[in-house]
Assembly symmetry: C2
Homo-oligomer: 147 residues x 2
């Protein structure tokens, strides 16, 4: 990856543009917000965050944008057990690829990454008969504060 590697935000917007999608304010706002995020956000969190930033976006638009991004593989949709979906940028190159630790008690979500785990998953994928598009690993338990 050269020095001029485009950011995830730019890459995403440009790719969509290239597929004939227009570049409205709502989509740009959501993509930009996701690009500034280090871990996953819920749709409601995005709604609140954008409103606080003085750039309100309809909740319907947020879901619409997330659906498109998810379908195109730019974001990863994650469900960690509370019945609420979370979303985060999908970094294909493995660069920021990670999984999640969820506290059963307080609901906190943290990230972790592990090479060995990725390798094991990759090995499994080939044997499934599926064309595997992605994977999630969620570890559940009590976090340091709650145990």
């Amino acid at each position: 990856m050269a020095a001029a590697a485009p950011s995830w935000v730019d890459l995403t917007l440009q790719s969509l543009r290239g597929e004939g999608f227009r570049n409205g304010g709502a989509r740009r706002a959501v993509v930009d917000l996701l690009g500034r995020q280090e871990c996953c956000l819920t749709a409601q969190e995005m709604f609140d965050r954008l409103r606080d930033e003085g750039n309100p976006v309809g909740i319907a638009s947020i879901y619409r944008v997330l659906e498109l991004l998810s379908e195109k593989g730019f974001v990863q949709r994650i469900e960690v057990g509370s019945g609420v979906a979370r979303y985060e940028p999908a970094h294909h190159a493995g660069e920021h690829h990670h999984h999640h630790l969820v506290c059963d008690r307080c609901g906190k979500v943290e990230a972790f990454a592990d090479e060995e785990l990725e390798a094991a998953i990759h090995n499994v994928e080939g044997r499934t008969g599926y064309r595997v598009a992605g994977h999630d690993v969620v570890l559940r338990g009590a976090c340091g504060d709650c145990r």
Copy 2:
């Protein structure tokens, strides 16, 4: 498994009995149904199935039973991305331990198991700072029928 090993159904009901819980018809029906299942079910599927079998159980009772079983570790709650929770018996001994393949297109859920993957996850667990109670792995993609 020795000949006298109690089934998951018996073990579950007996354990709850031992903790002072009574043994009502709804709980017995749900545990029995889960015990006959090879993979995960949604609450609604259980409701319909029990009704069809002539043993109707209130949807509220089903959720209550599942919450108790889940809390006590007898069932595993799984979310595979459609916003609906699924439940299946938890086989602690690793015996029937498995994870899930979900078809993005048709929603089909299948099971798979892999030793190497389990080992990798186990290694990660120790480094998290969490007291890890369980884990889920979900592979998403297109199944043989849909690809």
